[in-house]
């Protein structure tokens, strides 16, 4: 049995949410779709500081603990966004939905933007941090060559990018122990007013047909030397551009 962890960018998203909580005294709910083992990830979320946690789980969603990558079968992003949208509506009174910019495994980056479209809420991607003033929110977005500040009103959906301002906080041992005792709410599709038959594998639109692992062809040539001086000198001769061209 493998333990599930929070996907890395989702942890950044939770950190941003907790920073908003510290600034505004809001409530933070950790929400995920998954199999029974996802409870561990939610306990981790509560140990970090989430006020409550909800697991959406349903036999029709076919979550299993895969032993290999190719066996991994789970709902596609369209399905996940539809389910999450229903859950956000059921929660009601949600001002801000934050999720990681992309999953830690298949990295599609679709659920966040899809969820915004499902909700017909504004969407802000690649968030580093947010500043909330009433209904008005200032968002710092990470760009390839810097950053930008955009303004948006609640409610909106944001996807979070890792940044020096949102390094996930560590949960203390005390908090981990306390969180492990707290309940995780379990919602089934019927609880969300959804017909499970409309969400099964036959309805999923995105499929992984094949997975392959590229094989490495050449070995690394280690530069040897009695001293670091000698190694550095050998390396210097390898950095001439013509050397590179002739080798490749």
């Amino acid at each position: 049995m493998k333990a599930l962890v929070i996907s890395t960018f989702d942890e950044n998203a939770l950190e941003v949410a907790l920073q908003v909580k510290e600034a505004t005294n809001c409530r933070v709910t950790a929400l995920t779709i998954g199999g029974p083992s996802a409870v561990e990830a939610l306990h981790h979320g509560m140990a970090m500081g989430a006020d409550s946690a909800i697991l959406i789980s349903d036999p029709v969603l076919n979550y299993s603990t895969p032993s290999t990558w190719s066996e991994q079968v789970e709902p596609d992003p369209y399905t996940k966004a539809r389910i999450l949208a229903s859950a956000v509506r059921k929660l009601g009174d949600v001002d801000l939905v934050l999720c990681g910019r992309q999953a830690g495994d298949v990295e599609l980056g679709l659920v966040g933007p899809f969820l915004a479209e499902e909700m017909t809420w504004p969407c802000v991607t690649l968030i580093a941090s947010v500043k909330v003033q009433g209904k008005q929110v200032q968002v710092k977005r990470v760009l390839m060559d810097g950053y930008e500040i955009v303004g948006v009103q609640t409610s909106f959906v944001g996807t979070v990018m890792s940044d020096s301002s949102n390094v996930p906080r560590l949960a203390s041992a005390m908090k981990i122990i306390a969180a492990a005792r707290r309940p995780v709410l379990n919602w089934k599709l019927l609880d969300l007013g959804l017909d499970p038959n409309a969400f099964g594998p036959k309805t999923w639109r995105l499929a992984i047909q094949n997975v392959s692992v590229p094989q490495r062809k050449e070995r690394c040539e280690m530069l040897e030397g009695e001293t670091d001086e000698e190694k550095a000198q050998k390396l210097a001769t390898r950095l001439k551009p013509q050397q590179v061209t002739s080798n490749s």
Partner: protein, 340 residues
């Protein structure tokens, strides 16, 4: 015949068009397998010469879409980086284009704007989308599949997304731009997007963090540091070496998250994708997420951990403390420069 739309955003000039030429090269790969027609759809403003060059670089025709009342319309041609195309305007324009031209395949760049607008467009128009693709496939039954790295570049997946049109965002540097072919000819058309809904997300400030000197994307040599550098102080030594090599300094996500270098210097799957001649990875463990951003002819690793995965991807390795190697290396490079 399949209609393939290759979509680009912003201010098109000779200087800004290189990534878009790479997208056109990908569009030609798709066209050669499907017998399709490639329409370059440029959203924003375009310099006439740069628009004409799109035909020479692989487009069969060009559609220039302008949004007269959007900020992008008044963007200064000489400073394209200042141009701002709100994603909401891009989305409206692409919905319009999808209805107007009914493309079978829409290709977008997997950059900051494409990564947001592509998925939202797919959701709105019922398209099937795969992001960050690096390849295209077509089986005998005519089913389109998309290749893309997963698990931080550890594996390659082939994905099938149901829906029409097929939408894909292309990973930067996945294809090499075609050389201009002066014999190619095609029409250049212009359209205006009249719709201009009030923006729900508004730009307040934009700050460029690009460091002085050679840009990472253009550098022939990149000196890159990771967790092993230990702090911002160490990156000064890397910068010194990079200056001597006329290269640029990059870093891993760990180093950027620690604040040792601006995140605009981050190389990797979620940072910049770079293609220098030589990539010198110093104190970088070599996670597949980091290496997904490195397309170098030669990868050199300096690390004091013999088990670091970086030695599995590097061609040349030095097993030692970088604090000893880098200053000596800088000296030899400098001496060599003096002699030559």
């Amino acid at each position: 015949m399949l209609r393939i739309a290759a979509i680009g955003f912003g201010v098109l000039t000779d200087q800004t068009s290189k990534p878009y030429h790479e997208l056109l090269a990908f569009a030609r790969v798709v066209a050669s397998q499907t017998g399709g027609l490639v329409t370059a759809v440029w959203l924003g403003t375009a310099d006439p010469d740069a628009a004409g060059a799109l035909i020479l670089r692989g487009a069969d025709e060009v559609q220039l879409l302008s949004i007269p009342r959007s900020g992008i319309a008044s963007a200064p041609q000489d400073n394209p980086a200042e141009a701002y195309l709100p994603p909401e305007h891009a989305l409206i324009a692409l919905e319009w284009a999808a209805t107007q031209f009914s493309p079978d395949i829409m290709l977008l760049p997997a950059d900051t704007i494409g990564a947001e607008v592509g998925p939202r467009l797919a959701h709105r128009i019922g398209g099937g989308i795969v992001t960050d693709v690096t390849g295209f496939g077509l089986n005998n039954a005519g089913t389109i599949s998309w290749q893309r790295p997963i698990y931080g570049g550890k594996a390659e997946a082939v994905m099938i997304a149901q829906g029409k049109p097929q939408i894909a965002t292309m990973r930067a540097r996945a294809f090499v731009a075609l050389s201009p072919d002066q014999n190619r000819q095609g029409k250049i058309m212009k359209s205006e997007i009249a719709e201009n809904p009030p923006l729900r997300v508004t730009l307040q400030e934009r700050v460029r963090e690009e460091t002085a000197g050679v840009r990472l994307e253009d550098a022939k040599i990149i000196v890159s540091g990771g967790r092993g550098i230990g702090g911002a102080e160490g990156f000064k030594e890397l910068q010194h070496l990079a200056d001597l090599l006329r290269g640029a300094v990059g870093c891993s996500r760990q180093a950027a998250d620690a604040g040792w270098l601006a995140s605009s210097s981050m190389v990797g799957q979620t940072g910049k994708i770079v293609s220098p001649d030589i990539y010198i990875a110093i104190g970088i463990s070599g996670s597949s997420q980091h290496m997904a951003g490195v397309k170098a002819r030669l990868i050199v690793a300096i690390n004091n951990d013999k088990d670091a995965p970086i030695f599995n991807v590097a061609q040349v390795g030095v097993l030692s403390d970088w604090r000893k190697i880098v200053p000596a290396l800088a000296r030899f490079v400098q001496e060599h420069e003096v002699k030559s």
